[in-house]
Amino acid sequence: MSTRSDDRPPFRPFRNLNAKIASVPMILTTMVVFVGGTFWTVLYSFTKSGLLPRLEFVGLAQYERLWGTNRWLIAIENLFIFGICMLVFSMVIGFVLAALLDQKIRFENTFRSIILFPYALSFIVTGLVWQWILNPQFGVQGVVRNLGWTSFTFDPLYNADIVIYGILIAALWQGTGLVMCLMLAGLRGIDEDIWKAARVDGIPAWKTYVFIVIPMMRPVFVTAIVLIASGIVRVYDLVVAQTSGGPGIASEVPAKYVYDMMFSSQNLGQGFAASTMMLLSVAIVIIPWAYLEFGRRRRHG
């Protein structure tokens, strides 16, 4: 009946009322727990809170101490090295494994299960297993030495310079299986005709992968990167199980600093300041990316 030709949908607050009511608890949870918790943490990071939160503002003192603490700087450096290596290696290894499994080989299910299996283990178990494997007395080094190569040295967990790579090995062992499965699903989603067309045109297989298949798998890559990246920022249990930050403080990570400050040192303010910095660094990466990703989509309609 109406003669208006608005292409915007009319505002109808009671449409789909059931669905709206059903989503209220989740919206409340998000607002109170996530957004509220975040604001609370940032607010209290400017206070002198000890064991219990206390509204006694000290300005930026917590942040000054944070950036003057060697342990925090080492933790940031470790996270940086660990993050870059983890991202690159798990993507490359995961994709290569998936491409190999995609060659219509026998026992594919068996291989896939074997490679995915470590992902079923918790970080704590993974960490302990690799702590034993990398232990110089009875791990890899011990075994090789017993075979007769007595000068063989491989003790990453006891060498402050390379300890973070010892943790990286365990993280890769645990995480690449999942990346491989995602990639494999992505590869299976590529139309068989594309491969046929490429073969007809005489394009070598590696070129087909790099220039045709990988660009087509963009959504899968984004999913994999988001999963890995969130794992990197919160890496904590693996370090605790493998080295508990040692030798010395050589394998500290930011999440562990936050935990130790809040609970072991009974200095909530310092822990909040550190976690705010972690949030900030994630935001610096996420916000431009989200802007590019979603902003562009909207423009394209």
Binding site: L52, N70, R71, Y158, G248, I249, F263
Partner: protein, 411 residues
Amino acid sequence: MRHAMLAATLAASVAIPATLANATDLEVTHWWTSGGEAAAVAELAKAFDATGHKWIDGAIAGGGNTARPVMISRITGGDPMGATQFNHGRQTEELIEAGLMRDLTDIAEAEGWKDIVRPSSLLDSCTVDGRIYCAPINIHSWEWLWLSNKAFEDAGVEVPTNWDEFVAAAPKLEEAGKIPLAMGGQPWQSGGAFRVMLSSLAGPDVYKKVYGDKDTDAAAGPEIARVFEAADNARKMSAGSNVQDWNQATNLVITGQAGGQIMGDWAQGEFQVAGQTAGEDYTCLPGLGVNAVMSTGGDAFYFPVLQDEEQKKAQGELAALLLKPETQLAFNLKKGSVPVRGDVDLEAANDCMKKGLDILAEGRTIPSGEQLMSQDSLNQINDLVVEFFNTPSMTAEDAHKRFVDIVASAD
């Protein structure tokens, strides 16, 4: 059949409350998990069970720095245990201020703790605004150097009598394939060992100035510079002891793979469990054989505020029990620590414990680090020292400079 089941269930539901009427379960959390410690805590449980109540053991493995967060979050999170171990001192300050800990003053007065606890500083550490909030259970001193007689025999040198002789003997030990100084990887261990070097080599007065008054001039002084040189030696001597936990490091000494270890008197419990005799199999040097002073920190039990009347009563009974002479004796003999009351007959004490008792009797005591400094500042020092011990490129001067910075901002 069905009736019989029903009857049995009814009978059971009547029977269980009947047995529980005067026996209350009390959960007690602590971090005593090594062999000697577990044996000692079993004595407490036995004594408490004998009163008709039930000791529910809530051991948390991994040392105080792991256990305390769990305990604190349970107390602040509204799920308090019946009683819990802490080191008396400043760890519980804020919990008491927030009113989460039970005031034990009436029990302390009824039992006359003021007259029996020795040294009195132990009870002072439990006291906030004139009220008593904890029951001290033992005196722990950090200031011990434990030496393996076997290791020195194998290396063909005399067992040292002080720190300098120990450092001098280190090359011989290394030749014999031994690690001169065993040191676990956890930060509190190297931090504690450093504090021992400071109070022993620089003397108790400097120690009190630095840790107690946070005097930066004293911290920057030449005495502390010498302590960092000693720590530099200790760093070289401890290279190669790839262990994490303190009792693993103690085990290196017990088995003669390492020359010695700087560790508190709780290490003695491990020697006892291994069946070794003080003076014959191992030697102890209080204050590194230089300044025989003992810090009088230790463990104490705190009782969170509970609502249940029965449990409150059981808490009170446990608090009183902890300071009874029999409990004190049984517990401390197993633990290798010193009782908090002076009138306990320590006939059965071994050589090392007697040395400790003599030092106490002469009053050569200093407050423990936990009594003087907040856990936050102590952890900062621990972090610095453990970094120093594991970073060969870090110079003693560098570490000293950063130590002064920490002392300047400490509280």
